[in-house]
């Protein structure tokens, strides 16, 4: 990684933006922005539907798919997509059974996927090397093909949600009333989970579990704490990705840190700053309104 940089300009002289003169970092940037944006966009719905744990379970299912693919000699991407999609679709119907909470079923899937993935990785020499990357990510090795695939998925998600945004919100907010009006709620649920499964499996393959789960969670948390309207929240979550992913990649290159965790730290830092600013603003408003601790 440093050898490429050293060939062009001295490492210390690379500025925050300047690092992206490196072609492989530009690839990483495009892949990170696409993977992060689609996860952040869907993450708003994941948080509002209170299925955050599902996000990490689907990331783990995608990792299991990669491990399974390498173990059996199948196409790892196709295996990751297939397994994530099946898991997502199973969760879309598991809520109908009253004996077990959906949360417990998601927890079961998470530990089983994680456990089996570790066993498969340990038993597959090729997968063992990939195994470490599944967690931290391989953003710096993103290929043009992966960027095209991510772009296609991001476009698909954008089109589906632009056309069906109101329906997805209605079904998420009040499924029973939506059904009473004759809407095919199970079709919308399947559509939502299919988009989620497809996005997570592709993003996980390129960027790793940590990056994907953080992108599902933190940009949406920041945006929900800043904005009031749904379109503002969705746009805000994507904007957070456009701020944090370049900063994280640049930081990782300049400080020689793993890329996925570096982006996660930048997300977390921004969340702390926004939360602190919000608390100070609330305190000042309270003081201006005549509030007193006495």
């Amino acid at each position: 990684m440093l050898a490429l940089g050293d060939a062009l300009v001295p490492h210390a002289a690379l500025s925050f933006v300047g690092v992206f003169r490196e072609p492989f970092l530009r690839y990483a940037l495009f892949a990170g922005l696409l993977a992060g944006s689609v996860c952040a966009f869907l993450g708003v719905y994941v948080i509002l539907r209170r299925i955050v744990f599902l996000g990490v379970a689907l990331s783990e299912a995608a990792a299991l798919g990669v491990a399974l693919g390498l173990f059996l000699g199948w196409n790892a991407e196709a295996a990751a997509f297939g397994l994530t999609l099946v898991t997502a679709l199973l969760f879309s119907v598991s809520g109908r059974y009253r004996a077990l909470s959906q949360e417990s079923v998601i927890g079961w899937a998470y530990v089983v996927a994680g456990g089996v993935a570790i066993i498969l990785i340990a038993k597959t020499p090729v997968a063992e090397a990939h195994g470490l990357d599944v967690v931290s990510g391989m953003l710096l090795y993103a290929s043009a093909r992966e960027i095209r695939q991510l772009g296609l998925v991001a476009g698909l998600v954008l089109v589906v949600f632009t056309l069906l945004h109101r329906m997805f919100i209605f079904v998420s907010f009040d499924k029973e009333t939506a059904r009473s009006m004759g809407l095919k709620t199970s079709v919308y649920e399947l559509g939502f989970y299919a988009c989620l499964g497809l996005s997570i499996s592709l993003a996980m393959r390129t960027a790793g579990i940590l990056f994907v789960f953080a992108s599902l969670l933190i940009p949406a948390m920041i945006s929900l704490s800043l904005f009031q309207r749904m379109w503002q929240i969705l746009a805000g979550a994507v904007l957070v990705v456009f701020l944090c992913v370049p900063a994280g990649i640049s930081l990782s290159f300049q400080a020689d840190l793993p890329t996925g965790p570096a982006v996660v730290c930048v997300y977390a830092g921004l969340f702390v700053v926004v939360s602190a600013a919000g608390a100070i603003y609330s305190f000042l408003r309270w003081g201006a309104a005549g509030g007193s601790l006495r």
Binding site: L48, R50, R98, I169, F173, T177, S180, M181, F227
Partner: protein, 261 residues
């Protein structure tokens, strides 16, 4: 009065219907009909199956036995218990009421001017035009209830189904919501089915009352049901019926075979 007569103007007909979840029946052998223009109150203790009847009318759950016939093309406006809705969603009043049009316009069409006219009318009828841009979660309980009624009206329903619309409201809120429902029933001619566990609310507004008890039900005209002996028998405790300011008041006490009425 056992209501197994079916009239030509029936919009919903239950015939020997059993309802429940899984294998267990909550209600058995229900036979009754709801006529066009009816105002039916469903009363019963918690867990007696009041909401289950509404859900079966809406075809959200299938009957375990028997048949439920619904007049073709009938549109139901459902006002669910507002406590069931998750207030984490950053929705404005207008966003929530607009949902009422989605069942009419279909999945891929956007809302047109005529849809917004219907939404405006629903906001106007329920008296919430002034707060249409406020966030739903910031409203009072009574205002939220109006929003859910407005959403149901935006769907242009033939039948309004309300599940415990006065839950957690103060007496002013109760009165305002019930007067709104009566006004909708009278001025718009919409059939109303209302579920509640509050006897005083139901008896002061509905035309007919369905009591749920021991997996079964009985339906009476309101006047007929207001007899203390009948209510004492149904509730297995002495009950008195009185009138205050034109409203019926039902309280426990007195002798089971006598009342103030």
């Amino acid at each position: 009065m056992s209501d197994d007569e079916q009239t030509d103007d029936a919009v919903v007909v239950f015939q020997r219907v059993s309802l429940g979840y899984g294998r267990g029946a909550v209600l058995s052998n229900l036979t009754f009909s709801i006529a066009d223009g009816d105002f039916l109150g469903i009363i019963g203790p918690n867990g007696s199956g009041k909401t289950t009847i509404l859900r079966s009318i809406l075809r959200v759950i299938k009957p375990l036995g028997g048949s439920i016939r619904v007049r073709e093309g009938l549109k139901f406006g459902y006002v669910m218990q507002r406590q069931s809705l998750d207030e984490i969603f950053p929705l404005s009043v207008l966003d929530v009421v607009s949902m009422g049009r989605l069942g009419r316009v279909g999945p891929l069409r956007r809302l047109f001017a005529r849809d917004f006219d219907k939404i405006d009318r629903a906001l106007s009828i329920t008296g919430i035009q002034d707060i249409s841009h406020k966030r739903y979660r910031d409203l009072s309980g009574g205002q939220k209830q109006r929003v859910l009624v407005a959403r149901a009206l935006a769907f242009e329903p033939d039948v309004l189904l309300l599940d415990e619309p006065t839950n957690d409201l103060d007496i002013k809120g109760e009165e305002q919501i019930m007067n709104l429902i009566r006004q909708i029933h009278q001025s718009m001619g919409i059939t109303v089915v209302l579920v509640s566990h509050l006897l005083n609310i139901v008896f002061s507004f509905v035309h007919r009352v369905m009591f749920l008890k021991d997996e079964g039900m009985r339906i009476y005209d309101r006047r007929e049901a207001l007899h203390p002996r009948l209510l004492s028998e149904i509730y297995e405790t002495p009950v008195e019926v009185g009138q205050v300011g034109g409203r019926f008041v039902i309280v426990p006490g007195g002798k089971s075979d006598a009342g103030s009425r």
